[in-house]
Symmetry: C2
Subunit: 138 residues, 2 copies
């Protein structure tokens, strides 16, 4: 569907395919009653959950473990005035099962930041929405 304002809604499969291409996305959550956002490395798990790796002692873990968050990734090209964005909304939870943790050590995301006490956080892909801006004349 192309909207009159120049963007096209993406279906869930398109969204997940685009998400899988990006190394960095942004966790959107609430911290001390204020809206907060943090770029992080991520990967998609086999059930399409977003998986992050962060320090066990981080503010992020305290803020999002067990609560619903949004996760966004996008890719825009200024010269074409075009691009896409995808948002996953769902419950975030630290992976506590040792077998799951081991599996994600092999298959999960690698953080660009050195990490001594890394934990994995899964964000369930309960709601996946996206849109593509197809480029409009200046």
């Amino acid at each position: 569907m192309i909207h009159s304002d120049g963007f096209r809604a993406l279906d869930r499969q398109e969204c997940l395919r685009l998400l899988a291409k990006m190394p960095v996305g942004r966790v959107v959550y609430t911290r001390q009653a204020l809206p907060a956002v943090l770029p992080v490395n991520f990967s998609l798990d086999t059930d399409s959950a977003v998986v992050l790796c962060t320090s066990a002692a981080s503010d992020l873990v305290r803020a999002i473990d067990g609560v619903v968050v949004a996760f966004e990734a996008d890719d825009f090209q200024a010269e074409r005035r075009a691009g896409w964005s995808v948002v996953v909304t769902g419950r975030a939870a630290v992976v506590t099962d040792p077998a799951e943790h081991e599996r994600l050590l092999r298959t999960g995301p690698r953080s660009w930041m050195p990490m001594h006490d890394g934990v994995f956080i899964r964000i369930e892909a309960e709601m996946v929405t996206g849109r593509e801006l197809t480029g409009v004349p200046g």
Copy 2:
């Protein structure tokens, strides 16, 4: 200051200088009690407020006019495993003063989406934080 986890905190001036380079950032807010995020074109006003242009009838206007939101922009390079992100947190408000609206029509941001009923929204730069990931060996 360089943190042990590989990033450096940016001061307010560095943050604003980096922000000014980017054509797209992300508004972070709450919609129907859920965290929400939307990429938008923006510019910085002379007092460092973030200025967006959106449709007067948009969900975004209804959700953020008069409330505190976050605004994020970043730039990461996968090959260097490096980049920066900046977050502005402050009150958002639709520009209702006709003279201010006229001024922003000349100097404000241009949306990549065609806009028939555009209004400007200012986000006051009450809190500006940023960090730079300086690149670490793989």
